[in-house]
Symmetry: C2
Subunit: 294 residues, 2 copies
DNA sequence: GGCCATTGATACGGATTCCGTATTGATCGA
DNA sequence: TCGATCAATACGGAATCCGTATCAATGGCC
């Protein structure tokens, strides 16, 4: 009562050979089943596909048209099987990455490149998120993996550190400390600080404040802004100083200079993902991140 | 061992309902066969399509992808069945028409229009052919039907008259006979005639020559050219006179005038086709031509 | 012109597949 | 803890399908 893929394969082979016996041999069946299946196919379609004499077989006009369609459909099934298998292996599909702006300056580009080289058919979607939003978008499943500073996370989120870098001081170019190649944190006491709000990126905020406290002073916070670039911009305008991850020094800006500081605490970044996330692309990405961490 | 359309339909229904019992009801089968067919499909694919607990079913990522593909494939089969049936009914496909230039001025346009209105999905391919080539292209199958003057045809070609029109005289505008509204053929005796070569369109050639002979003179053929339009052009240049089918008078050309002539013999046109031609579009076209003839 | 080889259709028996009923096992909610 | 729900499994009967054997028709060859 229903058309079968087997009938399509039989039909295509017969249409290619135009000979029941040879087609049956190619299909590794005997000739009578082939005759029956073709007859059944014509019956179901209500269309004569072959003009048969007892001596030769040829396609009708409708048969030629159905042949094209059948080949397309068989190829479509073949492709569907293959792409579905590739999907399960994580070799194709979509991987949505939520990254914080600071990751964009350090680990994100090389990590994406390394992953993309190994999984060229995966559509990597990059979404910038605020650090405080990361937990939510991971738990709701609207992104598959986040790249950010470590941060307190609810049960169900996993974390893997992949990168650590020191802080550096960013100073106005004409600042008195800009002449030194390395700055002691204590020297920054009393300077107006530009930081990001604790609510936006709590981990990094704590790190900067903690550094100052370890060196005996409470930073005087003059401005808060939630983008690292903006911090550097404001420093370049002479509005204050800041401590930022070393990778920010890639930002070449007249008016701002970056200087090493005497602190041992590092800014760590890592990948975060939901333990229950079943995106098949994720394991490969995590393997990539793990390799990147070493 | 092979994926079945039934499995695709079962899979799509289950993916839509995410409930074995309800999907089975929609498919008018009981639940166990559905479970088995889905399991068999997953087995053949080597891919887990559903994440099952004993309480709920949901698609995996690969399952979602396969769902899209399966829907596409089922629709493709459905479309293939329909279009193949339409092809056999002659409602879609290709109809190649070989027409002679003289038909283009008379019967071809309204006939094509009438046919096209009734069979809008048929791709009508129009090929101009020389009258003497028509038999060959019909017998070889490179066109399905010809529109031309009747002409001696080999066994296997059928002919149906659909149109007849009188001859008319075409004269230079400043010709002495141009002042009359009707011309007697005998008046053209001695005039330089422009005709087409006998080899190109034997039937029409014979008709024109025959007309003259019936009226007691042998036409003095000054020029021969195988396009009717060229004949009219040459007449307009004052190089001679001719007898052409009345439909050529649609050709408005300063310098040439068309005049009725006192002959009863008509120029007939009809459709010609190979008896063995199995293009399903042909019967409908011939029915159209038959209706056109009345 | 008659004989034989070729080719597709048909007949029939055996094996496989597949469906439906009944049942099990597992999980969630009360 | 018990019952309800839901998917998986067991099993028997029916339908399908394949292969061997055979038939019918056609074309080539002597």
């Amino acid at each position: 009562m229903a058309i079968d893929f087997r009938q399509l394969r039989y039909f295509v082979t017969l249409a290619d050979t135009l000979h029941f016996g040879r087609a049956a041999a190619l299909l590794h069946i005997s000739q009578p089943p082939l005759s029956r299946q073709i007859a059944a196919l014509e019956e179901e379609l209500g269309v004569t596909l072959f003009k048969r004499s007892s001596r030769q077989v040829e396609l009708t006009v409708a048969g030629r048209h159905f042949h094209e369609q059948a080949v397309r459909i068989i190829e479509a099934l073949d492709g569907a099987v293959r792409s579905t298998q590739a999907t399960e292996r994580g070799e194709r599909g979509v991987l949505r990455i939520g990254f914080t702006m600071s990751a964009a300056w350090s680990v994100l580009p090389p990590l994406i490149k390394a992953y993309g080289d190994g999984a060229p058919d995966v559509d990597v979607q990059l979404n910038e998120v605020l650090p405080r939003e990361l937990n939510d978008v991971l738990m709701s499943g609207s992104v598959d993996v986040g790249i950010a500073f470590p941060w307190q996370r609810p049960a169900g989120l996993e974390y893997l550190a992949i990168h650590a870098e020191p802080l550096c001081a960013v100073l106005p170019a004409n600042h008195r400390l800009a002449r030194k190649t390395e700055v002691a944190v204590a020297d920054l006491a009393g300077e107006p600080f530009i930081t990001f709000p604790a609510a936006t990126a709590p981990a990094l905020h704590e790190l900067v404040i903690g550094c100052c406290r370890e060196n005996g002073f409470e930073p005087r916070i003059r401005l808060e802004t939630h983008l690292q670039q903006t911090i550097v911009n404001l420093v370049a305008e002479g509005l204050g100083v800041s401590l930022v991850p070393w990778s920010m020094s890639k930002m070449q800006l007249p008016g701002a200079v970056f200087r090493a500081v005497s602190v041992t605490r590092m800014v760590e970044q890592g990948v975060i993902w939901a333990a229950g996330n079943d995106n098949p692309c994720l394991p490969r990405f995590l393997a990539c991140a793990r390799a990147f961490g070493r």
